[in-house]
């Protein structure tokens, strides 16, 4: 166990190429849920830096029309194909990577729809069944990212979106 943990720490970077990201909003009319299993993320074990990228077109919805509107009307995916997050774990100490899943805070820049915002989010990071996992759940307000929701559909789309992130990290680079 100790050897395995040491082995994990000695890796300087961890990657996940099929991280899960979803956004969810519940309204009186219908729930909106978009999910991607194709986000990529890297964690630098030496510095505690963490980065995410997701192509907007990898998000899928139950209603095809919703997906089309998501890309065409809201995210403008042709103009802004990717959402990104670049941040650093607050008070980082590499020992948290070899411990059980623990609460952490990550501060960084979330860029969505061409707008960059510095945010701090709560997350969890640590070993689960010997594998490094990262989880997070936070809220964003689309209008802060220049995503306009017309009054006509205002009651169909929540003011806040709940973002869920799940990543299973693997050692990177060998």
């Amino acid at each position: 166990m100790l050897v395995a943990s040491l082995g994990a720490i000695s890796q300087s970077k961890f990657i996940s190429k099929n991280a899960y990201i979803s956004f969810y909003s519940s309204t009186p009319l219908e729930d909106i849920l978009g999910e991607s299993n194709e986000a990529v993320t890297i964690l630098n074990a030496e510095t505690g830096e963490i980065a995410f990228q997701a192509l907007m077109t990898t998000f899928h919805f139950k209603r095809a029309l919703m997906e089309e509107h998501f890309n065409e009307n809201y995210m403008e995916s042709t103009k802004f194909p990717k959402a990104k997050f670049n941040g650093k774990i607050d008070g980082y100490n590499s020992s948290i990577l070899s411990g059980p899943v623990n609460d952490i805070k990550v501060t960084g820049i979330l860029s969505v729809h061409g707008v960059d915002k510095t945010i701090t989010i709560s997350a969890k990071l640590g070993l689960e069944d010997g594998k490094l996992v990262g989880l997070s759940n936070f809220k964003v307000i689309p209008e802060n990212y220049g995503i306009k929701i017309p009054s006509l559909v205002r009651d169909k789309i929540g003011k806040e979106m709940e973002i869920t992130v799940k990543a299973n990290y693997l050692p990177f680079g060998n």
């Binding site: 890297i42 510095t47 990228q53 077109t57 209603r63 095809a64 029309l65 065409e72 017309p150 006509l152």
Partner: protein
């Protein structure tokens, strides 16, 4: 592919070796993101440009209920409330069996016509890993006029097959910019029975359609069907090419299409060979299409 990825990773490792603190994780991720084929979506807002089909499909397990109206002609004047006193209706159910295959069936009050169609997507416009300049679909339908035959001279008879017409179309479209899409629609229509000897059983036509988005939820559309071997101009009423102008308004799960058109028919077998209105004479019908989409995905 694999090699290219390895090469990229190799380059990055070389670039950043021994300089672990300034490594740009973002750049690493850029290298790790798989190159994708970027399929063009939403070439048109609806499965119809105005009267005719667009390259858009109902996606798998999505059901669309469409209701369309065409009123009488504007030149009815105020006495007929510019045509609003009369109306022709068409309604249909249309379903995506696969993302690339949709089928539908409907009924129109003009000649009490039943119709069924299938539309298959053959090519999708794309960029990125794979370049494809246009989207291409094949559309085919069958129409059955169920209106009672006029009385015939004694000793002659009517056949069921006389009620049928068949339509084949290629839909070739390109989304030139986010706002501008243009479609060409070569069409062949065969009608088993036509009114007079001067009418053509087989009609060749070329449809052109375009949409321009004024805002994210509003577009203007135009559509014109040029008939190569039109029915004889000496017929009464005289046949014209179909010209339609419209706007699409999108609100959540609905698309409203409002149009002005010289055709009262809403299916290919009627509006292409049998448009009898003339724009110049004011035979212009106000009309609309409304659709509601229901999703049947198990999830």
């Amino acid at each position: 592919m694999k090699n290219l990825q390895l090469l990229f990773i190799g380059i990055f490792l070389l670039l950043f070796a021994g300089n672990t603190f300034s490594q740009d994780l973002d750049a690493l991720l850029d290298a790790e993101t798989k190159p994708t084929i970027d399929f063009t979506t939403a070439t048109f807002k609806s499965t119809r440009i105005i009267n005719g089909h667009s390259v858009e499909q109902m996606k798998k397990n999505q059901l669309e209920f469409r209701i369309s109206h065409r009123f009488g002609t504007l030149n009815n004047g105020p006495y007929g409330l510019f045509g609003l006193d009369q109306s022709v209706i068409h309604f249909s159910l249309e379903y995506g069996l696969k993302d690339w295959l949709m089928v539908g069936a409907g009924r129109g009050s003009l000649n009490k016509t039943y119709d069924a169609f299938a539309k298959v997507r053959l090519l999708r416009q794309s960029s990125g890993m794979k370049f494809m300049p246009v989207s291409l679909s094949y559309f085919t339908s069958i129409e059955l006029k169920s209106i009672k035959f006029p009385d015939r001279p004694a000793g002659t008879s009517n056949y069921f097959s006389s009620r049928l017409a068949y339509v084949s179309q290629l839909l070739i479209a390109r989304k030139f910019t986010q706002n501008l899409s243009i479609q060409l629609t070569p069409t062949y229509i065969h009608r088993n029975l036509v009114k007079t000897e001067l009418d053509q059983n087989g009609i060749f036509a070329l449809g052109t359609g375009a949409r321009y988005k004024l805002s994210k939820r509003l577009s203007i559309n135009a559509e014109y069907f040029y008939t190569y071997n039109p029915n004889s101009k000496s017929l009464e009423p005289r046949p014209y090419n179909a010209l339609s102008l419209g706007v699409d308004i999108e609100t959540g799960g609905h698309v409203f299409q409002i149009m002005l058109t010289n055709s009262q028919g809403m299916r290919e077998g009627s509006f292409i060979p049998q448009t009898t209105g003339s724009w110049l004479d004011g035979d212009i019908h106000l009309g609309f299409n409304i659709s509601r989409v229901f999703a049947f995905n198990k999830k």
